[in-house]
Symmetry: C2
Amino acid sequence: MVNGRTPSVKDVARSAGVSLGTVSNVMNRPEVVSPSTRERVERAMAELGFVRNESARQLRAGTSRTLAYVMLDGSNPFFHDVAQGIELAAEEADLSLFICNSNGRADREEVHLDRLMQQRVQGILITPVNPEAPHLAEISRRGIPVVIVDRVGVGGAFCSVAVDDVLGGRIAVEHLAEQGHTRVAVVGGPESIGQVRERLEGARQIWAELGLPPDDLIYLPTAALTVAEGRSAGERLAGIPARRRPTAAFCANDLLALGLLQQTIGAGLRVPEELAIVGFDDIEFAAAAAVPLTSVRQPRQELGRAAAQLVLDEATNPDHHHHQQPLFVPELVARASTVVRSRAY
Amino acid sequence: MVNGRTPSVKDVARSAGVSLGTVSNVMNRPEVVSPSTRERVERAMAELGFVRNESARQLRAGTSRTLAYVMLDGSNPFFHDVAQGIELAAEEADLSLFICNSNGRADREEVHLDRLMQQRVQGILITPVNPEAPHLAEISRRGIPVVIVDRVGVGGAFCSVAVDDVLGGRIAVEHLAEQGHTRVAVVGGPESIGQVRERLEGARQIWAELGLPPDDLIYLPTAALTVAEGRSAGERLAGIPARRRPTAAFCANDLLALGLLQQTIGAGLRVPEELAIVGFDDIEFAAAAAVPLTSVRQPRQELGRAAAQLVLDEATNPDHHHHQQPLFVPELVARASTVVRSRAY
DNA sequence: TTGTAAGCGTTATCAC
DNA sequence: GTGATAACGCTTACAA
């Protein structure tokens, strides 16, 4: 603290009896300054409590040290796990991570993106409300690397990291069919969400391939991917006459599945004996449910980590030209909500 | 885009045929520039795709437009709800929010705080690993407002926003006593976490006041506040001989309670008939459990919002001198995990 | 109402 | 190995 002001390189230089450039060298290329002066400078820094001003650094250097992730739904732990993976990768690259949450609203998303551009972040990771929204392309055109997370960018306009959602829907329903179910509900919505669309599509595909009658795959649409909507779907399910009622349900995500599970058990039905349930994402709370939930596992942290690596490559590697769109393979984790005897978590 | 470079105020000025200062005025004090020039400038900005450089702004203006929150545990939804409350308040003040996660590790916390100081954030909200750590006081001394969230700052050194944890422990155990329980387990740890210490202390206080024998309040320590530790506590509980076994448990947070609930139901016991369970925090997943969980509710978003207001007050109000430490009153939300008939969510 | 110019704290390019 | 010095893009007096 120098005279009420927070100390600058200039103050450090004066206090250490060296020039301003030397102080900068100590911070940015320590190998170029002699050990003795370096030590003197470092002591001065410590004494004055010098903290480098990142704005000035960034302005001069023209390069920021932060990445950003714009989440789609902050109340879904899935996205926090993704964020955690990004954070790990960012940490390794010695970068800070800005986490924002659009809460599924396009206008909030735009506000956040706007701010991030002003901050000149080094790259933006985003699970977008709509991957085709023009502002995303616009940002990319400005030279800020954009990577779509948990969704495939359209037309190869961006790098993206995602899981094969269609395949995910297939293995979920295939698993139910293997358990002998011949009337299955698919629960999810709104279909404006791409992930939902594809998971449901996968379910329908495999159902047809298995030669099962289309009418026995019953679609229960929901207004959102939330626990509450899962409960409401459960009530609708209960309203179906017993001989037409599905014996199993595939939910487009774990939040829905948890809600459905709660409603079902609360109504006195046994899971999986009277209703088997499969979720999607495999968040931690899926395994922690009273009846541990079978779920289609996404490699949550890995998704984030891979996305961060892609964005860094695009930011720093001059011959990053063709956008990459790796698709991870989802994996079914069978637990007690579909398998009668197993108590495995 | 000018010449491959991202356009600056200078470019806008030239393109609009005005001076650089006028462009700045359009952004910062539009009322001072005539409508016609303003419109001309705005058109030029749009045409060039001008985006203000926040680093430069911050460097010159000496004031940053971001707040930061350092969470204690990113895998606990409670903290995300707090963060959401902060974000709402930040949004209203037109500020960005940096979210970091120390994951309970002091070293990660320091790294984050260091970065935040370099960014010259306007204020730091933190649920610290240890509120007495010297680096917190150090930051505060430098003039960056620090507000402790979900914990009371020691010795009035900081503003803080928290819930009365002792009271929370009291109402939880009082509720169990009212339901007729006379042997109760308290589950939680490590005691190095202040919140845990106080919640357990409240439980012991009321137990003594009710005149119940100390030996009938059985402490089951845990190594962390996680679902897995809750399960493990459940196993230990099951190992207690039936006539000594508690008929109810108070868990220091909902994650533990959820784990305990799962283990208990998985072992074939009925909740609440054979074991009643109370959690703490009232995260969304508490209400969503198969047997909806009774919990001590913290006003999660409100906590964040209040903390943000405090930090802003400290940052902008010159006569913010005495640190405020509002204590919110926790509230018991009774659900099916303790109350036999109720199916209320 | 508009224009001019002096920095903000840092980095990087040169001479020394 | 070290020390001046010119930017970086913006805000804000102050002058016109």
